[in-house]
Subunit: 424 residues, 2 copies
Amino acid sequence: MIVNNLCKYNIDCLSNKKLSLNLYQNEIFILMENFNFYSPTEFVFGRDRENESGKYVRKYGGSKVLLHYGSNSAKRSGLLDRVKKSLEAENVEYVELGGVQPNPHDSLVYKGIEVCRKENVNFILAIGGGSAIDSAKAIAMGVPYDGDFWDFYSGKSPKEALPIGTVLTIAAAGSEGSGDSVITKEEGMLKRGAGGNCLRPKFSVLNPQLTTTLPAYQTACGATDIMAHIFERYFTNTREVEVTDRLCEALLLTMIKETPRVIADPTNYDARANIMWAGMVAHNNIVGVGREQDWNSHGIEHELSALYDCAHGAGLAVIMPAWMEYVYRHDVLRFAQMATRVWGCEMNFSNPAVTAREGIKRFRRFLHDIGMPTNFEELGAKESDIPYLVKTFGLGEGETGGFVHLKSEDIENIYRLAVKSKLA
Amino acid sequence: MIVNNLCKYNIDCLSNKKLSLNLYQNEIFILMENFNFYSPTEFVFGRDRENESGKYVRKYGGSKVLLHYGSNSAKRSGLLDRVKKSLEAENVEYVELGGVQPNPHDSLVYKGIEVCRKENVNFILAIGGGSAIDSAKAIAMGVPYDGDFWDFYSGKSPKEALPIGTVLTIAAAGSEGSGDSVITKEEGMLKRGAGGNCLRPKFSVLNPQLTTTLPAYQTACGATDIMAHIFERYFTNTREVEVTDRLCEALLLTMIKETPRVIADPTNYDARANIMWAGMVAHNNIVGVGREQDWNSHGIEHELSALYDCAHGAGLAVIMPAWMEYVYRHDVLRFAQMATRVWGCEMNFSNPAVTAREGIKRFRRFLHDIGMPTNFEELGAKESDIPYLVKTFGLGEGETGGFVHLKSEDIENIYRLAVKSKLA
C-alpha cells in the first residue's frame, strides 16, 4: 500500500502525479480532469409507468422484443402481464427468456444470444434489477458480435449492441442508467465487468411502487450498493472538484435519511422513490466526473459474491468499511470531510484522525442498523478461503490503482480486517 | 398572494392540493410527482476540447454547419479560428452568422433561418453563452417549420429542429444542457421562452479556460443566474423529495464556495471548472425533477432585462431576494432549511422566521459581495416604470402558479420591494 506514514495529517502525502506545487502553500492547483459525460437514457419515473413500456419500445425503434427477467416474482405480481399488455397495445411482438439469477451467469447469456438471433429480435426489455439488466446488456452486445461475448468481459470495448430498455424492480445496481454490466462465468466462477456507451438503455421505467414488496434484507443490500457506488467516486486524489464532492454528499445524506424509513415501513412510497432515483444518479456517473475514482471495494467484494453467491450489497457491507479502515490514513482530511458533512460528526481540529475514524464507525453502525452483515461470519464467508479469494482477485505481483494503490498483500489485509470487524 | 398568515410556523399553510392528510400528524404524505428525465446531450468537458468540435459535429450527422456567435470576442480570442480549423479537419463545410446580442432578438433569428434554408445547412453550432445558444435553438426550430418561428415562443410545442451543438464561453444560462430558449421580440420588447426535447444540444463543449477572460461583472451575473435556476427548483410545495433538495443544496454550496474565488482570481481554472459544470447541472433539470417548480422570479426579471437591456443575472440579483422576502411566510421552515443547510445559519428553534430571514439576508449580502446590484437604483431601473413592467408581465386579472400563486398586485409589490432593497 502506497501510504506515507510520516506526515501528521496526511495533507502532504498524496501520490497523485498531477500535484504541481507544494501543498503547504495556500492554493492547491490540481487540475479537474477532462471528461465526457453522456447519459442519454430517457427515465420514465413514477407510479404505473410500466404501462407505457410498449410506447417507449416503439419510440426507440423496437418491433420485436426479448422480454428478459429473473424469478417468478414478476409473473406473480402481475408486472409481466402489464408489460406484455402494453407491448400488445403497440403491436410489438415478443419472446420471453426468464430465469436470470442474482450474479447472472454466462450460460443464460449464450442462450439469450441464440434466441435473439433465431427470432430476429431487435430490442431487449429487461424486467428486474441489476442482474436482469446486466444479463440483457451482455446479450445485446453478443447478438451483433461474431466472437464470444465474454471478450467484452475480458477487456474488449463493445462497438455496437441491440437497443435495450428496462423496467426496474430493485433500487441498487444503477444499471438502469449506466453503460456497465457484470456477469459471472460459471467456469471458475469469475465475476467480471464490461462497459460502453452502447450499453446505456434507451429508456428505463422507474416505478417505486414495484419495489415496495421487496424484503427488508434485499432493500438494505440495494441501499448498501448505492452508497458504495457513491463512496467509490468520493474517495479520490483529485482535488478541487467541489461540485462532485457536494453531489456525492447530497446522495449519501439522502440514503442515510431514507433507508431506515423504508426498512421501518416498506410501503413508504416517498422514501422508496427517493432511494430509487438516488440509485440511478449514484451510478450514471454525474457524481463521479472530473476525478480519479477507486473501484477496489467493488472488485474485492466481487470475489465474495462469486464464491459464496451472497448478495453483492451484503458483501459490500462487509468489505467497504474494512477498506476504509485500511486506507483512511492516506488522506485523513478527506475521511474527516465525509465524517462531518455526511455523518454529522463534530470535527476534531486537534486530531482529525479521530473524526475520520468516527465517520467509518458510524457507517458500519448504519449498515448494522439496516440489517446488513458487517463481518465474514455474518456474511457466511470463511477466513480459510482468503488465499483463494486473493488469488482469484488476480493481481499476482501487480497492483490495482485508485485512491490508494493496492497489491495482493493489501487485498489480503483488507479481507482479514473484514473477518474481524466488530461494531465499536 | 395565497398565503395563510394565521399559522405560526407555516407548516400548515400549504396550498398544494395533493396534501392528503393533516400536517399536524408526524408523517406527511405528499406524492413525489411522476416525471420524465431526458438529458441526451454529450458533454465534452475540459481544456482545449473545442478543438474536437469538428469531430463531434460529424459524429452527430453534421456536414454543413451554421456557425452562430455573438460579439467579436470569439474572433479576437482565436476561438472561432480554432473551431473552424477543427471543422475543416473533418471536411465539414460552414457558413457564419455573428452578431447575436445579449437578450437575443427575433430579427437575427429570421435572418438565420433564411441563411440555413438558402445554404442547406444541416447542423447549427453556437459559440458563446446563453444568447448565442438560445438564438441557435430558435433558428433550429424555425428552419423546418412552415409558419412563424415566434409561434414556439407563444405556446406552441416544437416537434422537430435542426441538430445543434454548442461551444460554451459563459457559465450562466445552462442552455448548453437544456431544451429551453428565450428570445426577445423587438416589436414591444417582449421576452418569451420556448422549450422541447428536440432543442437539447447533441453535444456541448465546456472548456473552463474559455471563461477565464470574462470580466468580473459578467462572471457574477452568470453565477447569479445559475443560483436562481437552483432556487426556482428548490422552492416548492411538493414534500418528500429529499434527493432533489439535497442536490440543489449541493450546487448552491458549490457556487457559494467557488464564485468569490473566481471573482478574486479570474484565472482560477478549478473554480471556473466547478462553476461551469454546476451551471449545466443546475439547469438540465436533474435538480428539479419530481416536484412543482416556481419560475416567477425569472419571469419578473425578464421584464427588466427586456426594458433596460440589463444583464439577466443582474436583474435576478435585484428580483430574487425581493421575491424571497415577499413569499417566505408561505413556508417558513423551507426558508429556514435553506438558511441552515445552504448559508450555514444556526437554526432558531423558538422562532424559525428569524432563521428564514437571516438566510435571505445572507443571500443578498453574497450577491452584493460578488459585485451585483441589489436594488432598482443600482440596476438602473426606475420605480416609475413599475406599472409598465406589471402590464407587460401580462397577468391582467389572472394569476401565475408555483410555490406561491401571484397576481398582478403581488408582482407590483415584489418590484416595489426590489426598489427599496437595502443590505441589512
